[in-house]
């Protein structure tokens, strides 16, 4: 079970809802992923365009825990405002703190992320900060009281996979709250690698929504999360320099 704050989940895959080809594919991909947590963004509406697609149109949101993000925020103040707007919907009490510090790489601003996390914890939110894979920053976020730590594998939407497995494993090793690897995932292989390192969960979006077959990729990611987790729990054999026969030596000469 994945436990975040006072909530427990069977699925360790958190799925983003952005950039699907259409709402039907999005719905099918969400179903195939068997996720229990959906992320989304908060945006100003176009009041003069009545035909804009509604994210909530196809998905029965009451079946999911919703994790709004503060994407678009460049300061802690903006992130807190976005979080409060999301909360006012009455649909969620979790928040993914995402404060970007660099427009090109979309890497998070560590100082503003800390500030926003602290403020939202004071307000009573269940706070999941998206952070770089900095080990010390991850520890400081946990010390503030963050309910999970979400280090990026690589820049958002880049599909560069896990760039620094050492840092991720150090964060996982030191953390007493769930570590959810968020951003940069491309393939099921990346997911398995992160889960085998001991990550408690994976948050991805573009890897599924941008795939030529999002529904199939959603299922692949679900299985990768499960496979990687089982492998982690089971434990791996040590590596050896030379071969060790799997078949017995005895009884070879008939």
């Amino acid at each position: 079970m994945l436990t975040i704050g006072n909530k427990s989940f069977h699925s360790r895959l958190l799925l983003g809802t952005g950039k699907y080809p259409d709402v039907n594919v999005q719905k099918q991909a969400v179903d195939a992923s068997e996720t229990e947590i959906l992320t989304f963004s908060v945006r100003r509406m176009d009041i003069f365009e009545s035909s804009q697609p509604n994210l909530l149109e196809k998905i029965s949101i009451s079946n999911y825990d919703l994790l709004p993000n503060t994407a678009g925020a460049y300061t802690a103040e903006e992130a807190v405002r976005t979080a409060k707007l999301a909360y006012a919907s009455g649909l969620c009490d979790m928040i993914k703190v995402e404060v970007i510090g660099d427009k090109k790489s979309l890497l998070p601003d560590p100082v503003e992320t800390l500030k926003a996390t602290e403020e939202l914890l004071k307000e009573g939110f269940i706070v999941l900060p998206y952070t770089s894979d900095d080990v010390v920053l991850a520890r400081k976020l946990e010390e503030l009281g963050a309910h999970a730590i979400m280090p990026g594998a690589s820049p958002i939407g880049s599909g560069q996979g896990i760039i620094n497995p050492l840092n991720l494993s150090l964060i996982i090793e030191q953390s007493h709250v769930p570590v959810i690897v968020d951003a940069g995932i491309r393939s099921p292989q990346d997911v398995v690698t992160a889960m085998e390192l001991g990550a408690d969960g994976i948050l991805l979006n573009t890897a599924v929504s941008g795939s030529p077959d999002p529904v199939k990729m959603a299922e692949a990611m679900k299985l990768a999360v499960q496979s990687g987790r089982l492998g982690f729990e089971a434990g791996k054999i040590p590596k050896k320099r030379y071969a060790t026969a799997s078949s017995p030596e005895e009884g070879i000469s008939f």
């Binding site: 983003g16 989304f40 176009d46 003069f48 993000n69 951003a183």
Partner: protein, 67 residues
């Protein structure tokens, strides 16, 4: 009455008196909307009780796909 809604100046008739009226006028089919009125974030329960007046600033926001 003149309101600034989502950054755009809009002229509305004086029949519109509450935040709920504004929502019903512009976006009647979108139930998940969240409203900020002159910098104050409103809960759903407040939509029908908060009055709007000339010069008010309103933000109507909603959930969109995101990761």
């Amino acid at each position: 009455m003149e309101l600034l809604i989502n950054g755009t100046t809009v002229q509305l008739s004086n029949n519109i008196t509450t935040v709920s009226d504004v929502i019903d006028y512009f976006i009647p089919d979108r139930p998940a909307v969240v409203v900020e009125h002159n910098g104050n974030i409103l809960t759903k329960e407040n939509h029908s009780t908060v009055n709007v007046k000339d010069g008010d600033k309103i933000e109507l926001v909603n959930f969109v796909g995101g990761g």
